[in-house]
């Protein structure tokens, strides 16, 4: 391409057109309150929701663990594992939210900006493992509750057999993980691949 010709074509654009009309103050007031990032890239709300949910679950599990500890209940090992998972999950999400730092994200130079987007998306994909793990615990609790209501004998057998409980928990978690891998995660993987490809394209320069 010839730079001179391009410059001429560039200069030939009309001064004012429907496409490039001067911006009014009233329009500007509306524009600046808009979030510039689209939903796919803006994970702040999703992260905040998860942090709130994890916090509530953490408090509930801590209260439950305390009562089981005092009464020497049968589910102490499960509750300790659940509290540990919730604590680490909470730390992970808070760290991700602070790392993403959405208000300053767009002020980074392009390569740093894309690199950070990649990391945030990659960690967000990883965070679904916490969801799968928690699903295992809570679906097992639901199963126990249903057994308690319908078949007390089966409930007694299950609640006094840690080995079965852990096997069911692992099975549910892995199943949930596979389900997420085929439903929600592909969208984020595709987005991550798109950002990575674009960054590499810019870094490697024109062919």
């Amino acid at each position: 391409m010839e730079l001179k010709k391009l410059q001429e074509d560039w200069d030939s654009f009309p001064e004012i057109s429907m496409e490039e009309r001067p911006i009014l103050s009233s329009d500007l007031e509306k524009i600046v309150v808009k979030n510039p990032l689209s939903d796919a890239f803006y994970l702040r709300r999703k992260l905040l929701t998860r942090i709130i949910v994890f916090s509530v679950l953490w408090i509930v599990s801590a209260v439950e663990l305390r009562s089981q500890w005092i009464s020497d209940g049968p589910d102490i090992s499960e509750l300790v594992a659940l509290s540990a998972l919730l604590s680490y999950g909470l730390y992970f999400h808070v760290r991700l939210l602070f790392f993403a730092d959405y208000p300053t994200l767009l002020s980074l130079p392009l390569i740093n900006f894309l690199g950070k987007l990649e990391t945030v998306l990659d960690k967000y994909i990883l965070s679904f493992k916490f969801v799968s793990g928690l699903a295992g615990f809570y679906v097992l609790a639901l199963l126990q509750y249903l057994l308690f209501r319908s078949n007390k004998g089966a409930f007694e057998t299950l609640s006094h057999n840690d080995w079965y409980k852990w096997l069911i928990l692992i099975f549910i978690s892995v199943s949930f993980d596979i389900l997420l891998l085929h439903t929600i995660i592909p969208k984020y993987r595709k987005l991550l691949a798109g950002v990575r490809k674009y960054r590499e394209g810019i870094q490697n320069g024109p062919k």
Binding site: P14, E20, L106, S107
Partner: protein, 175 residues
Amino acid sequence: MNNSSKKGGFDVDIRSLLKNQHKRVYAICRLFAHTYKEHQYLFTSIMAAASQNIRSRRDNRDKQTMVFRACINMAALHSIAMEMAPAVDRSIQFKSPDYQRSMTRFRQSMGEASDFEKFRLFLEFEKMPAEELTHLTGLPLSRNASGKKKEKEAGLPRKTSFNFIPYLKQKLVWS
């Protein structure tokens, strides 16, 4: 009157800066948008990003650089989104005939330029120094194949970072 007073929760300083820079924002939209709708969407997104960039920076850094970074970053996101969207008609469709004509002519002259070349063209058209590209993209100025070749030929040792337990570092340090 204080120049940076707030009116309706929006800094007057930022408002006047964005008003002054709106032509440049339109200019980068010309390089990336194919339709009127895309053009307007990209423009509003860039203006919103520029305003956010300026407001979020507590230090008094060059506000113009913040506006240009918003332009380039939002244009990149637009390109990524377009790349991922299902195949659609990519013909140029604008409302005003003059603009449509200018855009068609310009796109024909530009051909299939990469986004990096578009960023360089943008700086060229806006009469900005080439060094500015480093501030905007984070890429060194001498990033080209010949530079790497020369370095290889000269037998210069490559810069390596100290990787302390690489796996753990990768897992624990987010960069």
